[in-house]
């Protein structure tokens, strides 16, 4: 087990390092930073001065080492746009994104798991087909369009929920729901598949033979086994939900990290973009590691 953990951890760190190098390379390939900063009318001398100040005239590996060293200490430089340190900028935007993400994964579990169980219990009937249809449509609907349509229905036609912003708790409902759509189809299918297998397993037959109640068989015996992959996948899905926050936060005008990244890309504020890309990547790697760990703890065969 310890060998497995050490190996996965090493691999995860290696992946993070690669992403670090790639994201560094991307901004250096994007043209001359000094020209961007100095503006189009700057003289050659002032460009050279900025280049020297930022250390852009040093060899690339030296630049990378200096940048990576600072990045590992949480210093991603200053935003061109806000004239504020990137880390404090991200810290102030992160809370909303994490809140929405947490609510979204909760919603996805509440919606997808019961539907998956329901479909498995009624395998092959119209209920199963209906649940499959939910998953199919969930996969096909563009999330930004779903967000806009929900704003139209619940915000304008019914006037139940606010159309933008997070001023009250009601504001969280639509954005989280749209975010949860990323995870619902996968989790529904996984729950259904796991339950179908579990309900056919010998231990369920034994439980039935013992005369246990249907609820006890389904929830205690079958679901406990089917839930394992769902738990592991939830961790990875949370990573995808973070990625989806860009679109959702733009649609609902929520000032989270996704919105910040979108705004920064459009204005060429690369230190911010770079930091958000790294943040999302490291979070995803961390969550995948967590999922592997859970998987290995629950199933010894994975550790091999």
């Amino acid at each position: 087990m310890i060998r497995f953990i050490v190996r996965s951890l090493l691999l995860a760190m290696l992946v993070c390092l690669t992403v670090l190098i790639v994201s560094f390379a991307l901004t250096r390939l994007s043209g001359n930073l000094a020209i961007n900063l100095a503006g189009p009318d700057a003289s050659a001398a002032s460009i050279a001065k900025i280049q020297h100040e930022l250390g852009l005239d040093r060899p690339l590996p030296v630049q990378f080492a200096a940048w990576a060293d600072r990045a590992l200490h949480g210093d991603f430089g200053n935003s061109y746009l806000y004239h504020q340190s990137v880390s404090s900028l991200i810290a102030s935007h992160l809370k909303v994104t994490l809140q929405l993400g947490a609510i979204a994964i909760g919603m996805a579990i509440i919606i997808a798991v019961p539907l998956g169980i329901l479909a498995a219990l009624h395998e092959g009937t119209w209920i199963d087909t209906a649940c499959g249809l939910v998953a199919l449509i969930g996969q096909a609907v563009p999330s930004f369009w779903l967000g806009l349509m929900l704003i139209l229905w619940f915000g304008i036609d019914l006037r139940w929920l606010p159309i933008a912003g997070l001023a009250t708790w009601k504001g969280y409902i639509l954005p989280s729901f749209v975010l949860s759509f990323v995870a619902i189809p996968v989790m529904l299918r996984l729950t259904r598949g796991g339950m179908v297998d579990a309900l056919r397993a010998d231990y369920v037959r034994t439980a039935r033979a013992k005369g246990l109640s249907r609820a006890s068989i389904v929830l205690k015996h079958a679901f406990r086994n089917a839930a394992m992959p769902v738990v592991a996948v939830s961790a990875v899905q949370l990573g995808f939900i973070l990625g989806g926050s860009v679109v959702t936060e733009v649609v609902f005008n929520v000032r989270g990290v996704g919105y910040l990244a979108w705004e920064s890309i459009g204005k060429g504020d690369f230190p911010v973009v770079q930091a958000v890309v790294l943040l999302f990547a490291v979070t995803f790697v961390g969550l995948t590691f967590l999922a592997d760990l859970i998987g290995a703890m629950l199933d010894p065969r994975v550790r091999g």
Partner: protein
Amino acid sequence: MRRAALSLGAAIVAFAAILAIFAPLLMPHDPFAQDLTHRYTPPFWLPGGSSAHWLGTDGLGRDYLSRLILGARISMLIGVSTVILSGIIGTTLGVLGGYFGGRTDAVVMFIISCRLAIPVILVALTTVFMVGSGLWVVVLTIGLLLWERFAIVARAATRQVSGLDYIAAAWAAGCSRTRVILGEILPNIAHHLLVIATIDMAIAILLEAALSFLGLGVPPPLPSWGLMISEGKDYMFFKPWVIEIPGIALLILVLGINLLGDGLRDRLGARTEQ
């Protein structure tokens, strides 16, 4: 039921393909011709709509049906070209890893892990911003980002196939390594790849729509469905149909591709779940 789903999916995709191929012949109007005296004409089923513009006109008075048809061409073009590109990259990596195993496989798995860690939408937006928006920029960006499913499935399928007797027979018959990979392995994992192609095509189309919606995808005046939704967004409170029409088109096309993929998976017995 399952057969019906497959037929429905195939019919939707075929219809979209016909729209895409024959778009210039099918468009009733010039999709770029502006008519500022007829802005936001409603579609025919709403009061004020007419048969002159079946689906109405947009904010610049351009015929919505014509733009929708040309939009199908853009979506299909994006879907097919990115799948070809990502299919080549992913299949090459996956087959190499699955076939050679050992260190090669470890490298392939590592590349896949790195790719999975990259937040697709952010990197795609940044790339399009830096290179400049354009149809082929979007195709290249999405194609270079979305190959991981091909790689994962090609690798798993290759490993499975490599142990089978006919591969050993090909070796015994003196086939070269290239011959075994191209002549024996590829044809026998093709059905898995076909299913992945449908999944990736659907994802690519949705991703292009999202990029265009966010303003860093297909540039105006091209009528990408995502861009049409983005352009109509400011008027959606007054004219909801400007976002409903392209959104429903997108939903139906992606649903059709997914139905086709699911149907093919059952029909061909491909296993793509990991």
